[in-house]
């Protein structure tokens, strides 16, 4: 087991060591190790069922771990879950707002759960509703909001108690492209304001656009972890897709010139594009993220 000095602990916001989770005979997580630094925007990328949501549920105390250690902000999730929960804000994949209550009431209940005083609650709710550009909708019942607006309310709710870490589980799933980009801008703003962000996604472009570092997860284990740029550099810069019958073959090149020269030497059709994280995931796991 690795041990950290006091100085090291202060530079690590999330520390996961040999994390295991099983449901009966099914092994959902199979020895995950990772560390996230304060202020970092870290993305967990993987296909459905890879273990992304299970990891985030364990980190936020919603699910119990079977083995290993999780430390957030210096507190252990198993021995001091209440301290960990104080540090964390969570935006789950599904909408979990009280649809029968108003936007303000949803935020107010959350503030009470986190023991914010009445004055602080009122002030923070007003500030956050301005932040998510919903100040004029505070009295509206949640059931009257669109999916994108509900998602923004959930982000505001997760930020109400000023968490050190914001966990976002597939924050833009099911949203259209325009709303997705607004949510991305909001997430970037949250990070700029000093919050560590840990998000799971199976959208390649989301991880590429948002993340400082990305971890690929598949079958409950991390397959690779680095910055999006370095992960993609391993393959090259340019990708040539060639369709052979029912199959597609992709070749990678460091310069566009090399790629063009290769395609000119063949008499079949090619599609030239930039390498993306999907290529890296495919080369490591042999399967696509989606």
């Amino acid at each position: 087991m690795r041990e950290y000095t006091i100085t090291q602990i202060q530079t690590i916001m999330i520390s996961i060591e040999d994390l295991h989770k099983s449901y009966g005979k099914t092994q959902a997580l199979n020895g995950i190790h990772l560390q996230v630094e304060p202020g970092e925007l870290f993305a967990f990328l993987g296909p459905n069922g890879a273990g992304k949501t299970t990891t985030i549920r364990i980190l936020t105390g919603l699910t119990r771990l079977t083995g290993g250690k999780v430390n957030i902000g210096g507190s252990d999730i198993t021995t001091d879950p209440i301290a960990v929960k104080r540090l964390c804000g969570i935006v789950p994949q599904h909408i979990n707002l009280d649809s029968e209550l108003s936007v303000y009431e949803n935020l107010d209940i959350h503030g009470r759960l986190f023991a914010l005083s009445s004055d602080v609650r009122k002030q923070k709710i007003r500030e956050l509703l301005e932040y998510i550009e919903l100040a004029d909708r505070e009295k509206d019942l949640v059931k009257k909001l669109s999916g994108g607006l509900k998602r923004r309310v959930m982000i505001a709710r997760a930020l109400l108690h000023e968490p050190k870490v914001l966990f976002l589980d597939e924050p833009t799933v099911g949203l259209d492209a325009a709303i997705r980009r607004r949510i991305w801008a909001l997430i970037k703003r949250v990070q700029r304001d000093g919050t560590t962000v840990f998000l799971t996604t199976h959208y390649i472009e989301e991880a590429e656009f948002l993340a400082d570092r990305v971890a690929f997860i598949d079958l409950g284990a991390i397959k690779a972890i680095d910055t999006p740029g370095k992960l993609m550099e391993q393959l090259g810069v340019w990708a040539l897709d060639q369709i052979n019958g029912d199959d597609m073959e992709t070749r990678y090149f460091t310069t566009r010139k090399e790629a063009a020269a290769y395609s000119a030497s063949k008499d079949t059709g090619f599609t030239l594009r930039r390498v993306n994280l999907e290529d890296v995931f495919l080369s490591i796991t042999g399967k696509k993220v989606l």
Binding site: L62, L101, I109, R112, L113, A115
Partner: protein, 244 residues
């Protein structure tokens, strides 16, 4: 304490938005029982020196305090399986005790509201009963038992359908056999002993005795409180099981 208040306040807010529907729901079945069993048959049936209506109303109070307190399980399940609100509580820095206490008190509040509805409905029937401290204590004890049991079972069931089954197998038989509609003392001894295992039998006896101005058995209250404490502990220990 803040967690308990937040959980309880959320249930009160939900109750506020649904108040008209809830009050109507609380009134329907007691009103039907009062009209059919009490008003239509009340003149032909006499139990001891009391009319059947005098006998029936305390029984309805006991039954409604049970069903309404237990119905908090349905709300918890809807919040857990359909709205995923349970996760919001689980992700908050509150203890299991705060969560359970908030939900149990919400169930008891609904039970007390239902009793006020029944008492108001019974006014036009001209029935005058004693609504002293023992009467209300009986309701509090009974609703504590069934609200705690509801929270415990709501944590253990895997689907909303399972919850309906529990209601059918636990609450419905108890509603009819727990001394609400007939005097348990008229049954054979073996049946009396069997029915004395049901908490509602003791609640009906305690509430009826106090409402009719008769002396109450302290044992009924002690037993209900003990069963309630056991169910509350059961609920507390069940919360963690709902996480996985």
């Amino acid at each position: 304490m803040h967690g308990f208040i937040a959980v309880y306040l959320r249930e009160l807010l939900i109750l506020k938005y649904r108040l008209k529907r809830q009050l109507a729901g609380m009134a329907v079945s007691p009103l039907l029982y009062l009209v059919t069993f009490g008003y239509a048959m009340g003149d032909v049936i006499q139990i001891g020196e009391q009319s059947y209506l005098h006998f029936l109303i305390p029984g309805l109070v006991a039954m409604s305090s049970m069903t309404q307190a237990f119905s908090i399980a349905t709300d918890i399940n809807v919040a857990r399986f359909y709205w995923n609100i349970f996760e919001e509580f689980q992700a908050a820095p509150i203890t299991n005790l705060s969560y359970v206490a908030g939900e149990v008190l919400a169930g008891m509040t609904r039970a007390l509201m239902a009793i006020v509805v029944i008492l108001l409905l019974s006014l036009p029937f001209g029935v005058v009963l004693h609504y002293g401290p023992w009467f209300w204590l009986g309701i509090v004890c009974n609703s504590f038992v069934f609200s705690s049991l509801a929270v415990a079972l709501a944590m253990l069931v895997k689907s909303h359908a399972d919850q309906s089954l529990l209601t059918n197998f636990i609450i419905t038989p108890m509603a009819f056999l727990g001394g609400t509609f007939f005097p348990v003392e008229k049954l054979p001894v073996w049946a009396q002993m069997l029915l004395s295992l049901l908490p509602l039998t003791h609640a009906s006896r305690a509430i009826r005795a106090s409402a009719l101005g008769e002396s109450v058995l302290w044992w009924d209250y002690v037993l209900l409180l003990s069963i309630g404490a056991l169910c509350f502990w059961f609920a507390l220990s069940s919360v963690n099981k709902a996480r996985d």
